[in-house]
Symmetry: C2
Subunit: 184 residues, 2 copies
């Protein structure tokens, strides 16, 4: 497990990803922008941005050992040449979620909502990296970055529909869905 990596997602005029659309799923959207750049660690931004979202990778919060082993055995990394589609999905959960104890959040996330199990069904086609922003004072608690080949876009949509229909999503108070096409 690598140490936490701070990541900036900058929507603006530059970056290898063309923004295809920005869809507000729950609550307020993000301002329109043409391109997106993902900067890792101390990388210095080039040019101005319409918006910048920051968050950090980190340790597993809910995943148990047997699940972690299955994930490691199946998941693919970022930047595969064939993965020319991406989605950035910023999410904020409600105060009611954050007031729950660890066992209550785990029970909703997995025993009720099958969040980990559903994601696992779409590996290795859909690669994923989760970033935490809540304790940085950011507007979103999570920024999840997905990468996949164009032929897996329908599977990706299906996965999102299943997650959004879950009990866990009753605690989501803001969600934006940013779709991207690799052009750089």
């Amino acid at each position: 497990m690598p140490p936490p990596l701070m990541v900036q997602f900058r929507g603006g005029e530059s970056g290898p990803w063309r923004i295809e659309r920005i869809l507000p799923v729950i609550g307020e959207s993000l301002p329109p922008a043409a391109r997106l750049a993902m900067l890792e660690g101390a990388a210095t931004p080039a040019g101005a941005a319409r918006w910048t979202l920051r968050a950090s990778t980190g340790n597993m919060r809910y995943t148990e050992r047997r699940e972690a082993d299955s994930l490691v055995a199946r998941q693919a990394g970022l930047s595969r040449p064939e993965a020319r589609r991406a989605a950035l999905i910023p999410i904020r959960k409600s105060e009611a979620w954050w007031a729950l104890a660890q066992d209550e959040r785990r029970a909703i996330l997995e025993e009720q909502s099958r969040h980990i199990a559903i994601g696992m069904e779409y590996l290795p086609a859909i690669a994923r990296r989760l970033h935490h922003g809540r304790e940085l004072g950011e507007p979103f608690d999570f920024l999840t970055w997905f990468e996949f080949a164009p032929e897996h876009e329908a599977a990706f949509e299906e996965m999102l529909l299943r997650l959004r229909a879950s009990a866990e999503w009753g605690f989501v108070e803001r969600e934006v869905d940013v779709r991207l096409i690799r052009e750089g």
Copy 2:
């Protein structure tokens, strides 16, 4: 549960807390300083600091509902007039700890080490606030701040000895113990 609060602990020449001693428990110490100021949120620091440690409060990572209810029923808040002693204990855990899955960390922290249960025995005398720094890129994963009246200092020492003898502490690779006396 309040939203996360960013907190800076500044060791230097100013602040209401006089630094009585700085003891390196495991690994490298912190540079000497005369006084300590704890700044919350956007508070602006006054004067120079020898060192600044930053971290954020956040949601419970391991505490289950029955434990959370017991804590809430028993714990005291910060800034009680009689609590004129304090300790700041910065800790960094090993990569081996962070590579563990959630259920493995919980089992070591509570089922083996009784971390939550031990802390509970010393409530309400020892007030406590935990701050997370790992995902901010800080040198310490946790900054725990304790406040207590002078007559509870022996109990506080006992609590630390019990925690430091636990299986969980085998994963601590740096720990500093900063003791403070309120003078402002």
